[in-house]
């Protein structure tokens, strides 16, 4: 890395301000190798407040590795990650989680037998006030259900009215909504969605896309990994294209067509 001196928060902030806006999440020249295989070869990425950044790329282009580095599932060999201008070093997914980066995984990661409210608060249950909470450790079921309702309403999730329904009784789109709502609720800084529509039908996919737009409208920046070009071009503000472990380009739906994006992805065109 050439500018290893530029690791201070002040330095990062100064660098970012040069292009006008401060990225909420910034990765600089990430390198990750697996034995001889180079997963990431100096990839940089900027995510600005209130935008949907799509990451596309062919299989093996380093999409997942990039996301895993950003969410603490992998530790990059080189490079730096800044959240809110401050350098962060995630060792485990929980670290990224604690810092405000919420990830919705492809396999959803919801607990089927628990109800919607319990899933939203899983791992961060709220206890009752007073002695019932402090001594008897009772969770505030009523309060959590109410807050779950409020959160869902605020996110514009209208298909989930009853928060006491077990998640296994929900459709795929509704489960995805629960997973996204859990990621977006409670003041998270960044929401990462990994192929959120891969397992969904057309109508359910549309609901999830609406949900992503809602998140952006609430000011929550979203990183969206997807194979689905029409969906990417529908919701993304900017599109980060990975190719062979590098960032091939960052484009916008306005500046480039879908054909251009595919051409860049496959190496047929350069930017």
């Amino acid at each position: 890395m050439t500018d290893t001196t530029d690791t201070t928060a002040a330095g990062a902030a100064a660098a970012a301000e040069s292009d006008g806006r401060t990225p909420i999440l910034r990765a600089k020249r990430l390198v990750k190798t697996f034995g001889r295989v180079v997963g990431l070869d100096g990839v940089s990425l900027e995510l600005y407040p209130g935008e949907v950044l799509a990451i596309i790329g062919d299989n093996g282009a380093g999409k997942s590795t990039l996301i895993k580095c950003l969410t603490g599932a992998e530790i990059p060999d080189e490079g730096e990650i800044f959240l809110d201008g401050k350098p962060v070093h995630f060792k485990r997914p929980q670290d990224a989680h604690a810092a405000g980066i919420e990830t919705v995984y492809q396999n959803l990661a919801v607990s089927p037998a628990l109800d919607v409210a319990a899933n939203l608060f899983l791992g961060r249950e709220v206890r009752k006030k007073g002695i019932l909470g402090s001594v008897f450790r009772m969770v505030d079921q009523k309060g959590m259900r109410q807050r779950a309702k409020d959160e869902l309403k605020e996110l514009g999730i209208s298909t989930l009215q009853d928060v006491t329904v077990a998640v296994e009784n929900l459709s795929g789109g509704q489960r995805q909504a629960v997973a996204v709502a859990r990621a977006a609720a409670f003041g998270s800084k960044v929401v990462v969605l990994d192929e959120p529509t891969a397992a969904l039908g057309v109508r359910e996919s549309q609901q999830v896309l609406e949900l992503i737009k809602n998140l952006r409208d609430r000011g929550i920046p979203v990183i969206l990994i997807s194979h689905n070009m029409p969906q990417v071009f529908e919701v993304a503000d900017r599109i980060h294209i990975q190719r062979l472990g590098k960032r091939a380009a960052t484009i916008t739906p306005e500046s480039h067509s879908m054909t251009d994006a595919v051409a860049i992805m496959t190496g047929a065109a350069r930017v």
Partner: protein, 346 residues
């Protein structure tokens, strides 16, 4: 955004469309059973009481009811520990062996080594927790399947029990009163209830509260339901599993105490079938062997059903082998019902 949610017609339509089909009576029954796992054992219990009551008028006699509760107390307590472990999608074949080992430690240290009763019970607790820690360590750190782990520790604990006790029974008469206190009775509406039965019920109330009202309880269900989802939600799966095995160990020690009171002795050969009996109670009680589904009340009902079947069939004059046969049928039916209920998922 809020305008969308205040339009009941569209969202209600969405709900109706996207929810699974509840229209046929059968699927409605299935959904109800799915939501309340203790419901089917409760129905079986009520039917069993009615049928056995009609078959033999001695069945509902207070002395007989008292006997049933006493017979259920020990296996019911072990089944409580078993429920915790099965809720995490595990299984514990060593519950009976751990109970017997700790009962022998309690009895031997107090009677032969002159340790005060309370300290003897504490030593028993140490043994129970140690056994739980060993099972928990093997399951969480070495990632071995609970079935194999506890099959191994079952043999280890049985051997340790016999080595430690030299195969000798300690009689209740030799023990301090505190150790046999669980056998003392009081009268409740004409039925003699032992302190041991009361103790078991208290344990059920406490565990039901913890599982339903605390974050830890929810985490136990979440870990059994889908450990990966639980981990991604920020739950330390290994810590939850370890605490479950430790809690089970502690409950087994109370089971040992109840057992000493019930038989008025501590015998190294007392618990041979208790591991399977406890699993039977849990399964009949509607708790899923795949984890994440079930309640302790279901288990209590399951233990009562087994007790009532055995008692009722023997009062009806049937051979003891037919009792075992009936329990076998109950298990198969209970697991089949569980499978059928679980089809709701897809």
């Amino acid at each position: 955004m809020s305008q969308q949610t205040t339009e009941p017609p569209t969202s209600a339509l969405d709900l109706a469309e996207e929810f699974l089909d509840r229209s046929t009576p059968l699927s409605r029954i299935r959904n109800t059973l799915h939501r309340y796992p203790a419901l089917s054992p409760a129905i079986v219990l009520v039917l069993a009481v009615i049928v056995f009551g009609l078959l033999n008028d001695r069945f509902l006699n207070p002395a007989n009811l008292s006997l049933i509760t006493q017979q259920v107390a020990v296996v019911g307590t072990l089944a409580l520990a078993q429920t915790l472990i099965i809720l995490t999608a595990g299984i514990d074949l060593s519950v009976g062996a751990v109970m017997v080992l700790s009962s022998m430690v309690v009895a031997q240290t107090t009677v032969h080594m002159g340790v005060p009763a309370i300290l003897g019970l504490f030593l028993g607790l140490v043994v129970g927790l140690g056994a739980g820690a060993l099972n928990g360590f093997l399951v969480t750190r070495l990632k071995l399947p609970p079935f194999i782990v506890t099959l191994g520790t079952l043999n280890i604990f049985v051997a340790l029990t016999l080595l430690y006790s030299s195969g000798a029974t300690v009689r209740g008469g030799e023990m301090p009163d505190l150790l046999t206190a669980m056998g003392a009775t009081f009268n409740l509406g004409g039925v003699n209830i032992t302190i041991g039965v009361l103790m078991m019920l208290i344990l059920y109330v406490v565990l039901a509260f913890i599982l339903q009202k605390t974050a830890w309880g929810r985490h136990v269900y979440a870990v059994g339901d889908d450990p990966e989802a639980a981990r991604l939600a920020g739950i330390s799966v290994n810590r939850v599993l370890m605490s479950v095995y430790l809690a089970a160990g502690a409950i087994l020690v109370i089971g040992a105490w109840i057992q000493i009171g019930r038989t008025n002795a501590a015998s190294p050969n007392a618990g041979a079938d208790l591991n399977l009996d406890s699993i039977t109670a849990v399964v009949i009680g509607g708790t899923s062997l795949f984890g994440g589904r079930g309640t302790v009340w279901g288990t209590l009902l399951g233990a009562l059903i087994v007790g009532i079947f055995r008692n009722g069939l023997s009062l009806a004059g049937l051979d003891v082998l037919w009792q075992t046969f009936a329990v076998g049928v109950l298990i198969v039916v209970a697991v089949s019902v569980d499978q059928w209920i679980r089809k709701v998922r897809k």
